[in-house]
Amino acid sequence: MNLSKIFKNVFLVVIFGLIVTACATKKSVKTTTESTTTTKAAETQKADPIEKLDALMQGDVYIGSDTVGELASGVPDRVFFATNETILTTASRETLRKQAAWLRQNSDVTVVVEGHADERGTREYNLALGERRANAAKDYLMTYGVSSDRIKVLSYGKERPVDSGSNPLSWSKNRRSVTVKAN
Protein backbone atom coordinates (compact mmCIF):
# COMPACT_ATOMS: atom_id res chain seq x y z
CA MET A 1 0.00 0.00 0.00
CA ASN A 2 1.58 3.25 -1.03
CA LEU A 3 1.42 6.44 0.97
CA SER A 4 -1.16 8.27 -1.10
CA LYS A 5 -3.53 5.33 -0.83
CA ILE A 6 -3.15 5.29 2.93
CA PHE A 7 -3.74 8.99 3.03
CA LYS A 8 -6.89 8.55 0.99
CA ASN A 9 -8.20 5.85 3.30
CA VAL A 10 -7.48 7.90 6.37
CA PHE A 11 -9.16 10.85 4.81
CA LEU A 12 -12.22 8.73 4.16
CA VAL A 13 -12.20 7.55 7.76
CA VAL A 14 -11.99 11.12 8.98
CA ILE A 15 -14.85 12.16 6.71
CA PHE A 16 -16.90 9.17 7.79
CA GLY A 17 -16.32 10.12 11.42
CA LEU A 18 -17.59 13.60 10.68
CA ILE A 19 -20.71 12.31 9.00
CA VAL A 20 -21.52 10.01 11.87
CA THR A 21 -21.16 12.79 14.44
CA ALA A 22 -23.03 15.05 12.08
CA CYS A 23 -26.02 12.73 11.89
CA ALA A 24 -26.08 12.27 15.62
CA THR A 25 -26.06 16.00 16.24
CA LYS A 26 -28.74 16.66 13.68
CA LYS A 27 -31.08 14.18 15.25
CA SER A 28 -30.72 15.61 18.71
CA VAL A 29 -31.25 19.15 17.42
CA LYS A 30 -34.44 18.13 15.68
CA THR A 31 -36.05 16.44 18.61
CA THR A 32 -35.39 19.39 20.85
CA THR A 33 -36.39 22.22 18.53
CA GLU A 34 -39.32 20.72 16.67
CA SER A 35 -42.67 19.93 18.10
CA THR A 36 -44.21 16.60 17.28
CA THR A 37 -47.07 18.06 15.26
CA THR A 38 -46.27 16.10 12.13
CA THR A 39 -46.62 12.69 13.71
CA LYS A 40 -49.92 13.69 15.25
CA ALA A 41 -51.40 14.53 11.84
CA ALA A 42 -51.90 10.89 10.99
CA GLU A 43 -53.30 10.08 14.44
CA THR A 44 -56.02 12.74 14.36
CA GLN A 45 -56.94 11.53 10.93
CA LYS A 46 -57.41 8.01 12.27
CA ALA A 47 -59.16 9.22 15.40
CA ASP A 48 -61.93 10.86 13.38
CA PRO A 49 -64.98 8.60 13.33
CA ILE A 50 -65.14 7.02 9.90
CA GLU A 51 -68.94 7.19 9.66
CA LYS A 52 -68.84 10.93 10.19
CA LEU A 53 -66.21 11.51 7.49
CA ASP A 54 -68.09 9.27 5.08
CA ALA A 55 -71.12 11.50 5.38
CA LEU A 56 -69.09 14.63 4.68
CA MET A 57 -66.54 13.48 2.13
CA GLN A 58 -66.65 11.29 -0.93
CA GLY A 59 -63.09 10.25 -1.70
CA ASP A 60 -61.60 13.50 -0.49
CA VAL A 61 -64.25 15.77 -2.03
CA TYR A 62 -66.42 17.61 0.46
CA ILE A 63 -70.14 16.76 0.12
CA GLY A 64 -71.52 18.36 3.29
CA SER A 65 -73.38 21.65 3.60
CA ASP A 66 -71.22 23.49 6.17
CA THR A 67 -69.83 26.79 4.76
CA VAL A 68 -72.05 26.47 1.65
CA GLY A 69 -73.90 29.73 0.98
CA GLU A 70 -76.47 30.61 -1.63
CA LEU A 71 -76.08 32.46 -4.90
CA ALA A 72 -79.87 32.74 -4.86
CA SER A 73 -82.63 30.96 -3.02
CA GLY A 74 -82.12 27.20 -3.47
CA VAL A 75 -78.94 27.75 -5.55
CA PRO A 76 -75.74 26.73 -3.73
CA ASP A 77 -72.84 29.12 -4.30
CA ARG A 78 -69.91 26.67 -4.35
CA VAL A 79 -68.50 23.40 -5.61
CA PHE A 80 -65.69 21.30 -4.15
CA PHE A 81 -62.67 19.53 -5.59
CA ALA A 82 -60.41 16.58 -4.85
CA THR A 83 -56.76 17.24 -3.88
CA ASN A 84 -54.80 18.74 -6.80
CA GLU A 85 -57.83 18.13 -9.06
CA THR A 86 -59.95 20.45 -11.17
CA ILE A 87 -62.48 17.84 -12.34
CA LEU A 88 -66.11 18.64 -11.57
CA THR A 89 -67.95 15.87 -9.72
CA THR A 90 -71.53 14.86 -10.51
CA ALA A 91 -72.74 16.89 -7.52
CA SER A 92 -70.68 19.90 -8.64
CA ARG A 93 -72.15 19.76 -12.12
CA GLU A 94 -75.65 19.68 -10.64
CA THR A 95 -74.88 22.76 -8.53
CA LEU A 96 -73.43 24.60 -11.52
CA ARG A 97 -76.48 23.73 -13.68
CA LYS A 98 -78.65 25.32 -10.98
CA GLN A 99 -76.42 28.40 -11.02
CA ALA A 100 -76.56 28.55 -14.81
CA ALA A 101 -80.36 28.25 -14.81
CA TRP A 102 -80.69 31.07 -12.31
CA LEU A 103 -78.19 33.24 -14.20
CA ARG A 104 -80.10 32.69 -17.45
CA GLN A 105 -83.25 33.92 -15.71
CA ASN A 106 -81.45 36.92 -14.20
CA SER A 107 -79.54 38.15 -17.20
CA ASP A 108 -78.49 41.46 -15.64
CA VAL A 109 -76.40 39.69 -12.98
CA THR A 110 -72.67 39.32 -13.47
CA VAL A 111 -70.56 37.04 -11.30
CA VAL A 112 -67.02 36.42 -10.12
CA VAL A 113 -66.00 32.81 -9.84
CA GLU A 114 -63.40 32.59 -7.07
CA GLY A 115 -61.04 29.62 -7.19
CA HIS A 116 -59.39 28.33 -4.02
CA ALA A 117 -56.93 25.67 -2.92
CA ASP A 118 -56.12 24.07 0.43
CA GLU A 119 -53.00 24.88 2.47
CA ARG A 120 -51.15 21.69 1.50
CA GLY A 121 -49.44 23.09 -1.58
CA THR A 122 -46.91 25.75 -2.48
CA ARG A 123 -48.31 29.26 -2.77
CA GLU A 124 -47.62 29.90 -6.44
CA TYR A 125 -48.79 26.50 -7.63
CA ASN A 126 -51.99 27.02 -5.64
CA LEU A 127 -52.62 30.35 -7.35
CA ALA A 128 -52.50 28.53 -10.68
CA LEU A 129 -54.63 25.68 -9.32
CA GLY A 130 -57.29 28.10 -8.04
CA GLU A 131 -57.41 29.74 -11.46
CA ARG A 132 -57.82 26.35 -13.11
CA ARG A 133 -60.66 25.39 -10.73
CA ALA A 134 -62.49 28.67 -11.24
CA ASN A 135 -62.19 28.23 -15.01
CA ALA A 136 -63.53 24.68 -14.80
CA ALA A 137 -66.65 26.13 -13.15
CA LYS A 138 -66.80 29.04 -15.61
CA ASP A 139 -66.55 26.71 -18.61
CA TYR A 140 -69.40 24.61 -17.28
CA LEU A 141 -71.58 27.69 -16.71
CA MET A 142 -70.86 28.75 -20.28
CA THR A 143 -71.81 25.31 -21.58
CA TYR A 144 -75.17 25.86 -19.93
CA GLY A 145 -75.79 29.15 -21.64
CA VAL A 146 -74.17 31.86 -19.49
CA SER A 147 -72.12 34.17 -21.71
CA SER A 148 -68.44 34.52 -20.86
CA ASP A 149 -68.58 38.32 -20.49
CA ARG A 150 -70.83 37.87 -17.43
CA ILE A 151 -68.28 35.69 -15.64
CA LYS A 152 -65.02 36.97 -14.21
CA VAL A 153 -62.50 34.58 -12.73
CA LEU A 154 -60.38 35.32 -9.66
CA SER A 155 -57.94 32.92 -8.04
CA TYR A 156 -57.06 33.28 -4.39
CA GLY A 157 -54.89 30.20 -4.25
CA LYS A 158 -54.69 29.20 -0.58
CA GLU A 159 -54.99 32.79 0.68
CA ARG A 160 -58.62 32.73 1.78
CA PRO A 161 -59.51 29.47 3.52
CA VAL A 162 -63.06 29.25 4.97
CA ASP A 163 -62.02 26.66 7.53
CA SER A 164 -58.88 27.26 9.56
CA GLY A 165 -58.43 23.61 10.56
CA SER A 166 -55.37 21.56 9.64
CA ASN A 167 -57.10 18.28 8.87
CA PRO A 168 -58.47 16.51 5.78
CA LEU A 169 -62.06 17.64 6.39
CA SER A 170 -61.07 21.32 6.71
CA TRP A 171 -58.89 21.06 3.63
CA SER A 172 -61.77 19.54 1.64
CA LYS A 173 -63.96 22.57 2.45
CA ASN A 174 -61.22 24.91 1.29
CA ARG A 175 -60.72 23.25 -2.12
CA ARG A 176 -63.56 25.11 -3.77
CA SER A 177 -64.82 27.45 -6.38
CA VAL A 178 -67.39 30.01 -5.24
CA THR A 179 -69.72 31.94 -7.53
CA VAL A 180 -70.25 35.44 -6.15
CA LYS A 181 -72.56 38.16 -7.47
CA ALA A 182 -70.48 41.06 -8.77
CA ASN A 183 -73.23 43.65 -9.13
Binding site: I6, A22, K26, G121, T122, E124, Y125, L127, A128, S164
Partner: protein
Protein backbone atom coordinates in the same frame (compact mmCIF):
# COMPACT_ATOMS: atom_id res chain seq x y z
CA UNK B 1 1.29 0.01 9.82
CA UNK B 2 -1.01 1.22 12.60
CA UNK B 3 1.64 3.63 13.78
CA UNK B 4 1.92 5.10 10.29
CA UNK B 5 -1.80 5.76 10.14
CA UNK B 6 -1.74 7.61 13.42
CA UNK B 7 1.11 9.80 12.26
CA UNK B 8 -0.68 10.67 9.09
CA UNK B 9 -3.83 11.73 10.93
CA UNK B 10 -1.79 14.04 13.13
CA UNK B 11 0.05 15.39 10.14
CA UNK B 12 -3.19 16.12 8.32
CA UNK B 13 -4.83 17.91 11.25
CA UNK B 14 -1.83 20.02 12.09
CA UNK B 15 -0.85 20.86 8.55
CA UNK B 16 -4.26 21.78 7.22
CA UNK B 17 -4.69 25.27 8.70
CA UNK B 18 -1.24 26.40 7.62
CA UNK B 19 -1.77 25.35 4.02
CA UNK B 20 -4.28 28.04 3.21
CA UNK B 21 -3.98 30.98 5.59
CA UNK B 22 -1.65 31.97 8.34
CA UNK B 23 -4.72 32.69 10.41
CA UNK B 24 -6.76 29.83 11.87
CA UNK B 25 -9.29 28.95 9.25
CA UNK B 26 -12.79 27.67 9.64
CA UNK B 27 -14.18 24.79 7.63
CA UNK B 28 -17.74 25.95 7.08
CA UNK B 29 -18.94 22.66 5.66
CA UNK B 30 -18.85 21.28 9.18
CA UNK B 31 -21.51 23.58 10.60
CA UNK B 32 -21.61 24.08 14.34
CA UNK B 33 -19.70 21.03 15.50
CA UNK B 34 -16.81 22.99 16.88
CA UNK B 35 -17.38 26.75 16.98
CA UNK B 36 -14.29 28.93 17.16
CA UNK B 37 -13.94 31.01 20.35
CA UNK B 38 -13.66 34.71 19.53
CA UNK B 39 -13.59 37.91 21.56
CA UNK B 40 -15.28 41.07 20.37
CA UNK B 41 -13.98 43.89 22.54
CA UNK B 42 -16.39 46.82 23.03
CA UNK B 43 -15.39 49.52 20.54
CA UNK B 44 -13.65 52.37 22.30
CA UNK B 45 -14.94 55.95 22.15
CA UNK B 46 -13.92 59.21 23.88
CA UNK B 47 -16.16 61.52 25.94
CA UNK B 48 -16.88 64.02 23.15
CA UNK B 49 -17.90 61.20 20.81
CA UNK B 50 -20.20 59.72 23.47
CA UNK B 51 -21.91 63.10 23.94
CA UNK B 52 -22.36 63.63 20.19
CA UNK B 53 -23.75 60.15 19.69
CA UNK B 54 -26.11 60.53 22.61
CA UNK B 55 -27.36 63.73 20.97
CA UNK B 56 -27.67 62.23 17.46
CA UNK B 57 -28.84 58.69 18.11
CA UNK B 58 -29.87 58.64 21.78
CA UNK B 59 -27.56 55.69 22.36
CA UNK B 60 -25.45 55.61 25.55
CA UNK B 61 -22.58 53.46 24.39
CA UNK B 62 -22.36 52.92 20.63
CA UNK B 63 -19.10 50.99 20.96
CA UNK B 64 -20.78 48.20 22.95
CA UNK B 65 -23.75 48.16 20.57
CA UNK B 66 -21.50 47.71 17.53
CA UNK B 67 -19.58 44.91 19.21
CA UNK B 68 -22.92 43.20 19.94
CA UNK B 69 -23.99 43.39 16.29
CA UNK B 70 -20.77 41.65 15.31
CA UNK B 71 -21.08 39.02 18.06
CA UNK B 72 -24.69 38.32 17.17
CA UNK B 73 -23.96 37.98 13.43
CA UNK B 74 -20.98 35.71 13.93
CA UNK B 75 -22.63 33.52 16.58
CA UNK B 76 -25.69 32.99 14.40
CA UNK B 77 -23.49 31.34 11.76
CA UNK B 78 -22.90 28.52 14.25
CA UNK B 79 -19.21 28.75 13.39
CA UNK B 80 -18.17 31.09 16.20
CA UNK B 81 -18.60 31.23 19.93
CA UNK B 82 -18.31 34.73 21.41
CA UNK B 83 -16.61 34.83 24.81
CA UNK B 84 -18.46 36.75 27.54
CA UNK B 85 -17.17 40.30 27.86
CA UNK B 86 -16.84 39.96 31.67
CA UNK B 87 -13.94 37.59 31.04
CA UNK B 88 -11.92 40.23 29.14
CA UNK B 89 -8.78 41.30 30.97
CA UNK B 90 -7.77 44.22 28.78
CA UNK B 91 -9.52 47.57 28.38
CA UNK B 92 -11.00 48.36 24.94
CA UNK B 93 -8.76 51.36 24.15
CA UNK B 94 -5.50 49.58 24.99
CA UNK B 95 -6.58 46.35 23.31
CA UNK B 96 -7.29 48.29 20.14
CA UNK B 97 -3.85 49.94 20.23
CA UNK B 98 -1.82 46.83 21.03
CA UNK B 99 -3.45 43.74 22.52
CA UNK B 100 -1.63 41.76 25.17
CA UNK B 101 -2.07 38.45 23.34
CA UNK B 102 -1.33 36.32 26.42
CA UNK B 103 -4.41 37.81 28.14
CA UNK B 104 -6.65 36.83 25.22
CA UNK B 105 -5.04 33.41 24.86
CA UNK B 106 -5.65 32.86 28.57
CA UNK B 107 -9.43 33.12 28.08
CA UNK B 108 -9.09 30.69 25.11
CA UNK B 109 -9.81 33.30 22.47
CA UNK B 110 -8.36 32.45 19.07
CA UNK B 111 -9.44 35.67 17.41
CA UNK B 112 -9.86 39.18 18.75
CA UNK B 113 -11.84 42.04 17.24
CA UNK B 114 -11.23 45.56 18.50
CA UNK B 115 -12.38 48.98 17.36
CA UNK B 116 -12.80 52.66 17.92
CA UNK B 117 -15.65 55.10 17.28
CA UNK B 118 -14.92 58.81 16.78
CA UNK B 119 -17.44 61.53 16.03
CA UNK B 120 -16.52 63.99 13.30
CA UNK B 121 -17.96 67.15 11.88
CA UNK B 122 -17.54 67.61 8.14
CA UNK B 123 -19.12 70.68 6.49
CA UNK B 124 -21.07 71.29 9.71
CA UNK B 125 -22.65 67.85 9.49
CA UNK B 126 -22.23 65.04 12.02
CA UNK B 127 -20.42 61.92 10.97
CA UNK B 128 -18.93 58.94 12.77
CA UNK B 129 -15.67 57.25 11.96
CA UNK B 130 -15.44 53.60 12.88
CA UNK B 131 -12.12 51.80 12.86
CA UNK B 132 -11.79 48.07 13.34
CA UNK B 133 -8.97 45.56 13.64
CA UNK B 134 -8.95 41.79 13.45
CA UNK B 135 -6.21 40.09 15.48
CA UNK B 136 -4.88 36.55 15.34
CA UNK B 137 -4.29 35.79 19.02
CA UNK B 138 -2.20 32.64 18.48
CA UNK B 139 -0.12 34.24 15.72
CA UNK B 140 0.10 37.44 17.83
CA UNK B 141 -0.55 39.85 14.97
CA UNK B 142 -3.12 41.99 13.27
CA UNK B 143 -4.52 40.32 10.15
CA UNK B 144 -7.14 42.71 8.85
CA UNK B 145 -8.96 45.94 9.51
CA UNK B 146 -10.51 49.03 8.01
CA UNK B 147 -11.78 52.49 8.83
CA UNK B 148 -15.12 53.88 7.61
CA UNK B 149 -16.74 57.30 7.92
CA UNK B 150 -20.52 57.45 7.68
CA UNK B 151 -23.64 59.28 8.83
CA UNK B 152 -24.53 58.38 12.42
CA UNK B 153 -27.80 56.66 11.50
CA UNK B 154 -25.98 54.08 9.32
CA UNK B 155 -24.13 52.74 12.35
CA UNK B 156 -25.71 49.28 12.26
CA UNK B 157 -24.57 48.80 8.67
CA UNK B 158 -20.98 49.42 9.76
CA UNK B 159 -21.38 46.59 12.29
CA UNK B 160 -22.58 44.37 9.46
CA UNK B 161 -19.73 45.38 7.16
CA UNK B 162 -17.21 44.53 9.89
CA UNK B 163 -18.96 41.16 10.39
CA UNK B 164 -18.69 40.50 6.64
CA UNK B 165 -14.97 41.30 6.67
CA UNK B 166 -14.32 38.99 9.62
CA UNK B 167 -16.40 36.18 8.11
CA UNK B 168 -14.63 36.52 4.77
CA UNK B 169 -11.22 36.50 6.37
CA UNK B 170 -11.90 33.49 8.59
CA UNK B 171 -13.94 31.28 6.27
CA UNK B 172 -12.67 32.28 2.83
CA UNK B 173 -16.30 32.78 1.72
CA UNK B 174 -17.96 36.10 0.94
CA UNK B 175 -20.15 37.50 3.70
CA UNK B 176 -23.91 38.09 3.86
CA UNK B 177 -24.50 40.35 6.86
CA UNK B 178 -24.82 43.76 5.17
CA UNK B 179 -28.04 42.62 3.48
CA UNK B 180 -31.80 43.00 3.81
CA UNK B 181 -34.75 40.68 3.68
CA UNK B 182 -38.06 41.55 2.06
CA UNK B 183 -41.00 39.47 3.24
CA UNK B 184 -44.74 39.44 3.77
CA UNK B 185 -45.78 40.50 7.28
CA UNK B 186 -48.95 38.67 8.37
CA UNK B 187 -51.59 39.45 10.97
CA UNK B 188 -55.10 38.38 11.86
CA UNK B 189 -57.05 35.11 11.79
CA UNK B 190 -56.11 32.42 9.30
CA UNK B 191 -59.28 32.92 7.26
CA UNK B 192 -58.75 36.69 6.92
CA UNK B 193 -55.03 37.29 6.96
CA UNK B 194 -53.86 40.85 6.49
CA UNK B 195 -50.63 40.91 4.55
CA UNK B 196 -48.13 43.74 4.11
CA UNK B 197 -44.77 43.98 2.41
CA UNK B 198 -42.03 44.44 4.99
CA UNK B 199 -38.33 45.15 4.68
CA UNK B 200 -35.76 44.55 7.41
CA UNK B 201 -32.05 44.20 7.95
CA UNK B 202 -30.86 40.61 7.80
CA UNK B 203 -30.66 40.53 11.64
CA UNK B 204 -34.28 41.63 12.11
CA UNK B 205 -33.65 45.32 12.84
CA UNK B 206 -34.95 48.43 11.05
CA UNK B 207 -38.26 46.93 9.91
CA UNK B 208 -40.19 49.11 7.45
CA UNK B 209 -43.63 48.37 6.05
CA UNK B 210 -43.93 49.06 2.35
CA UNK B 211 -47.70 48.52 1.93
CA UNK B 212 -50.55 49.23 4.32
CA UNK B 213 -52.37 45.91 4.27
CA UNK B 214 -55.42 47.16 2.37
CA UNK B 215 -54.84 44.62 -0.38
CA UNK B 216 -53.43 41.12 -0.45
CA UNK B 217 -49.73 41.06 -1.37
CA UNK B 218 -47.56 38.01 -2.04
CA UNK B 219 -44.09 36.79 -3.04
CA UNK B 220 -41.83 39.88 -2.95
CA UNK B 221 -38.36 39.33 -4.49
CA UNK B 222 -35.29 41.52 -4.69
CA UNK B 223 -33.69 42.55 -7.92
CA UNK B 224 -30.28 40.83 -7.54
CA UNK B 225 -28.64 43.67 -9.50
CA UNK B 226 -30.30 46.54 -7.57
CA UNK B 227 -31.10 46.30 -3.87
CA UNK B 228 -33.42 49.32 -4.16
CA UNK B 229 -35.87 47.44 -6.34
CA UNK B 230 -38.28 44.57 -5.71
CA UNK B 231 -41.01 42.77 -7.60
CA UNK B 232 -44.11 41.30 -6.00
CA UNK B 233 -47.72 40.34 -6.64
CA UNK B 234 -50.66 42.45 -5.48
CA UNK B 235 -54.45 42.05 -5.54
CA UNK B 236 -54.87 45.83 -5.94
CA UNK B 237 -58.44 46.43 -7.21
CA UNK B 238 -58.99 42.68 -7.26
CA UNK B 239 -56.71 42.42 -10.28
CA UNK B 240 -53.91 40.09 -9.21
CA UNK B 241 -50.86 41.39 -11.06
CA UNK B 242 -47.08 41.56 -10.82
CA UNK B 243 -45.60 44.92 -9.81
CA UNK B 244 -42.14 46.46 -9.56
CA UNK B 245 -41.44 48.84 -6.66
CA UNK B 246 -38.61 51.30 -6.21
CA UNK B 247 -37.90 51.16 -2.47
CA UNK B 248 -36.29 54.59 -2.42
CA UNK B 249 -38.97 56.60 -4.20
CA UNK B 250 -41.92 54.33 -3.39
CA UNK B 251 -42.87 54.47 -7.06
CA UNK B 252 -44.54 51.30 -8.30
CA UNK B 253 -45.78 50.09 -11.63
CA UNK B 254 -47.63 47.08 -12.94
CA UNK B 255 -45.48 44.87 -15.16
CA UNK B 256 -46.75 44.42 -18.68
CA UNK B 257 -50.25 44.50 -20.04
CA UNK B 258 -51.69 41.04 -19.59
CA UNK B 259 -55.30 39.91 -19.68
CA UNK B 260 -55.21 37.43 -16.83
CA UNK B 261 -53.47 36.94 -13.50
CA UNK B 262 -49.70 37.44 -13.45
CA UNK B 263 -47.81 35.93 -10.54
CA UNK B 264 -44.59 34.21 -9.39
CA UNK B 265 -42.26 37.02 -10.54
CA UNK B 266 -38.46 36.96 -10.39
CA UNK B 267 -35.78 39.21 -11.88
CA UNK B 268 -33.03 37.97 -14.14
CA UNK B 269 -29.59 38.07 -12.44
CA UNK B 270 -28.68 41.28 -14.32
CA UNK B 271 -32.03 42.86 -13.49
CA UNK B 272 -32.93 43.60 -17.11
CA UNK B 273 -35.70 40.99 -17.40
CA UNK B 274 -38.56 39.69 -15.35
CA UNK B 275 -39.92 36.14 -15.53
CA UNK B 276 -43.38 35.31 -14.21
CA UNK B 277 -46.43 33.18 -14.80
CA UNK B 278 -49.57 34.27 -16.61
CA UNK B 279 -52.77 32.36 -15.78
CA UNK B 280 -55.46 32.67 -18.41
CA UNK B 281 -58.43 30.45 -19.31
CA UNK B 282 -57.34 27.79 -16.84
CA UNK B 283 -53.77 27.50 -18.02
CA UNK B 284 -50.58 28.95 -16.51
CA UNK B 285 -47.54 29.57 -18.69
CA UNK B 286 -44.16 31.21 -18.04
CA UNK B 287 -43.47 34.55 -19.68
CA UNK B 288 -40.47 36.82 -19.80
CA UNK B 289 -40.61 40.59 -20.12
CA UNK B 290 -37.58 42.60 -21.11
CA UNK B 291 -37.71 45.65 -18.83
CA UNK B 292 -35.57 47.74 -21.20
CA UNK B 293 -37.36 47.04 -24.51
CA UNK B 294 -40.77 46.15 -22.98
CA UNK B 295 -40.96 43.14 -25.27
CA UNK B 296 -42.69 40.18 -23.67
CA UNK B 297 -42.54 36.61 -24.79
CA UNK B 298 -44.14 33.29 -23.82
CA UNK B 299 -41.54 30.68 -22.86
CA UNK B 300 -43.58 27.56 -22.12
CA UNK B 301 -46.41 26.14 -24.19
CA UNK B 302 -48.18 23.33 -22.39
CA UNK B 303 -51.73 22.78 -21.08
CA UNK B 304 -50.33 22.02 -17.61
CA UNK B 305 -49.51 24.44 -14.77
CA UNK B 306 -46.06 25.95 -15.37
CA UNK B 307 -44.94 28.32 -12.62
CA UNK B 308 -42.32 29.36 -10.01
CA UNK B 309 -39.56 30.17 -12.54
CA UNK B 310 -36.02 31.09 -11.41
CA UNK B 311 -32.97 32.01 -13.52
CA UNK B 312 -29.53 30.42 -13.26
CA UNK B 313 -26.94 33.02 -12.15
CA UNK B 314 -25.48 33.21 -15.67
CA UNK B 315 -28.97 33.89 -17.04
CA UNK B 316 -28.71 31.04 -19.55
CA UNK B 317 -31.22 28.68 -17.95
CA UNK B 318 -34.53 28.79 -16.10
CA UNK B 319 -35.76 26.24 -13.59
CA UNK B 320 -39.52 26.00 -12.88
CA UNK B 321 -42.17 23.62 -11.66
CA UNK B 322 -44.81 22.00 -13.82
CA UNK B 323 -47.46 19.31 -13.32
CA UNK B 324 -47.21 18.11 -16.92
CA UNK B 325 -46.21 14.65 -15.71
CA UNK B 326 -49.36 14.49 -13.56
CA UNK B 327 -47.78 15.95 -10.44
CA UNK B 328 -45.70 19.00 -9.63
CA UNK B 329 -42.07 18.33 -10.62
CA UNK B 330 -38.98 20.45 -11.28
CA UNK B 331 -37.80 21.22 -14.81
CA UNK B 332 -34.90 23.11 -16.38
CA UNK B 333 -34.99 24.81 -19.78
CA UNK B 334 -32.84 27.25 -21.71
CA UNK B 335 -33.84 30.84 -21.04
CA UNK B 336 -35.41 31.05 -24.50
CA UNK B 337 -37.81 28.25 -23.52
CA UNK B 338 -36.11 25.49 -25.52
CA UNK B 339 -34.77 22.14 -24.32
CA UNK B 340 -37.20 21.55 -21.44
CA UNK B 341 -35.94 18.73 -19.23
CA UNK B 342 -37.41 17.25 -16.07
CA UNK B 343 -34.82 16.97 -13.28
CA UNK B 344 -36.75 15.78 -10.17
CA UNK B 345 -37.47 12.07 -10.07
CA UNK B 346 -37.60 11.27 -6.34
CA UNK B 347 -40.73 10.20 -4.47
CA UNK B 348 -43.19 12.96 -3.71
CA UNK B 349 -44.02 16.25 -5.41
CA UNK B 350 -41.53 19.06 -5.94
CA UNK B 351 -42.02 22.81 -6.22
CA UNK B 352 -40.51 26.32 -5.87
CA UNK B 353 -37.10 25.60 -7.42
CA UNK B 354 -34.62 28.42 -6.80
CA UNK B 355 -31.20 28.48 -8.40
CA UNK B 356 -28.28 29.01 -6.01
CA UNK B 357 -26.25 32.21 -6.61
CA UNK B 358 -23.22 29.90 -6.98
CA UNK B 359 -24.96 28.10 -9.83
CA UNK B 360 -24.33 24.53 -8.72
CA UNK B 361 -27.52 23.77 -6.76
CA UNK B 362 -31.27 24.24 -6.90
CA UNK B 363 -33.20 24.63 -3.63
CA UNK B 364 -36.76 23.32 -3.58
CA UNK B 365 -39.84 22.43 -1.54
CA UNK B 366 -40.90 18.80 -1.47
CA UNK B 367 -44.11 17.22 -0.25
CA UNK B 368 -43.85 13.55 0.60
CA UNK B 369 -46.11 11.42 2.82
CA UNK B 370 -47.85 14.47 4.23
CA UNK B 371 -44.66 16.29 5.24
CA UNK B 372 -42.92 19.27 3.70
CA UNK B 373 -39.17 19.38 3.17
CA UNK B 374 -36.72 22.06 2.08
CA UNK B 375 -33.94 20.47 0.08
CA UNK B 376 -31.27 20.99 -2.53
CA UNK B 377 -30.27 19.06 -5.64
CA UNK B 378 -27.68 19.53 -8.36
CA UNK B 379 -28.92 21.29 -11.47
CA UNK B 380 -29.19 17.94 -13.28
CA UNK B 381 -31.38 16.59 -10.46
CA UNK B 382 -28.76 14.34 -8.89
CA UNK B 383 -27.50 14.52 -5.30
CA UNK B 384 -30.86 15.38 -3.69
CA UNK B 385 -30.40 16.35 -0.04
CA UNK B 386 -33.29 17.16 2.30
CA UNK B 387 -32.28 19.79 4.88
CA UNK B 388 -35.36 20.13 7.05
CA UNK B 389 -38.77 18.50 7.53
CA UNK B 390 -41.97 19.94 8.99
CA UNK B 391 -45.77 20.12 8.87
CA UNK B 392 -45.62 22.95 6.34
CA UNK B 393 -42.74 24.96 4.94
CA UNK B 394 -41.80 26.37 1.56
CA UNK B 395 -40.36 29.27 -0.44
CA UNK B 396 -36.58 28.86 -0.06
CA UNK B 397 -34.42 31.92 -0.81
CA UNK B 398 -30.60 31.89 -0.85
CA UNK B 399 -28.23 34.13 1.07
CA UNK B 400 -26.09 36.02 -1.46
CA UNK B 401 -23.10 33.76 -0.77
CA UNK B 402 -25.16 30.61 -1.30
CA UNK B 403 -24.43 29.18 2.16
CA UNK B 404 -27.80 29.70 3.87
CA UNK B 405 -31.42 29.20 2.87
CA UNK B 406 -34.24 31.25 4.37
CA UNK B 407 -37.84 29.98 4.08
CA UNK B 408 -41.15 30.18 5.93
CA UNK B 409 -42.90 27.62 8.08
CA UNK B 410 -46.55 27.42 9.12
CA UNK B 411 -47.88 25.59 12.17
CA UNK B 412 -50.68 23.07 12.25
CA UNK B 413 -53.78 24.42 13.95
CA UNK B 414 -55.43 22.63 16.87
CA UNK B 415 -58.86 20.93 16.96
CA UNK B 416 -60.55 24.31 17.17
CA UNK B 417 -58.62 25.63 14.18
CA UNK B 418 -56.55 27.88 16.42
CA UNK B 419 -52.84 28.32 16.99
CA UNK B 420 -51.88 29.19 13.44
CA UNK B 421 -48.61 31.01 12.92
CA UNK B 422 -46.17 31.66 10.10
CA UNK B 423 -42.50 32.40 10.76
CA UNK B 424 -39.25 32.78 8.87
CA UNK B 425 -36.53 30.21 9.46
CA UNK B 426 -33.03 29.79 8.14
CA UNK B 427 -30.82 26.73 7.73
CA UNK B 428 -27.27 26.16 6.53
CA UNK B 429 -26.71 24.37 3.28
CA UNK B 430 -25.12 21.65 5.43
CA UNK B 431 -28.47 20.98 7.11
CA UNK B 432 -27.16 22.36 10.41
CA UNK B 433 -27.91 25.51 12.32
CA UNK B 434 -31.65 25.78 11.83
CA UNK B 435 -32.80 29.10 13.31
CA UNK B 436 -35.91 31.15 13.78
CA UNK B 437 -35.46 34.52 12.05
CA UNK B 438 -36.94 37.17 14.31
CA UNK B 439 -39.68 39.36 12.82
CA UNK B 440 -42.05 41.83 14.48
CA UNK B 441 -45.13 40.01 13.19
CA UNK B 442 -45.87 36.65 11.60
CA UNK B 443 -44.01 36.39 8.31
CA UNK B 444 -43.81 34.48 5.04
CA UNK B 445 -42.34 34.62 1.51
CA UNK B 446 -38.82 35.85 2.40
CA UNK B 447 -36.36 37.06 -0.22
CA UNK B 448 -32.73 37.82 0.57
CA UNK B 449 -31.02 40.82 -1.06
CA UNK B 450 -27.54 40.86 -2.54
CA UNK B 451 -24.82 42.55 -0.47
CA UNK B 452 -25.99 46.15 -0.26
CA UNK B 453 -24.45 48.84 -2.43
CA UNK B 454 -23.79 52.30 -1.10
Amino acid sequence: MKKNLFLIILFYVILKPSISFSLVEIDITRGNLDPMPISVSPFFSDKITDENIKKNLNIENLGIEISRIIENNLEKTGLFDAIEKEAFLQKPDIAHLKPRFEDWALIKSQVLITGKVTSKIINEKDYINIEFKLWDVLGAKMVDGFSLTTTPRSWRRVGHKISDKVYERLTGESGYFDTRIIYVAEEGPKTQRIKKLALMDQDGFNTKYITLGSELVLTPRFNPANDKEITYMSYFRNMPRVYIVNLQTGEQKVVGDFRGMTFAPRFSPDGTKLIMSLAKDGNSEIWVRNLETNIQEKLTDHPSIDTSPSYSPDGKFITFNSDRSGYQQIYVMRSDGSKVKRISFGKGIYGTPVWSPRGDLIAFTKLHKGKFFIGVMRTDGTGERLLTENFYQEAPSWSPNGRIIIFYRETKTDDKGEGFSAKLWSIDLTGYNERLVSTETDASDPSWSSLLGN
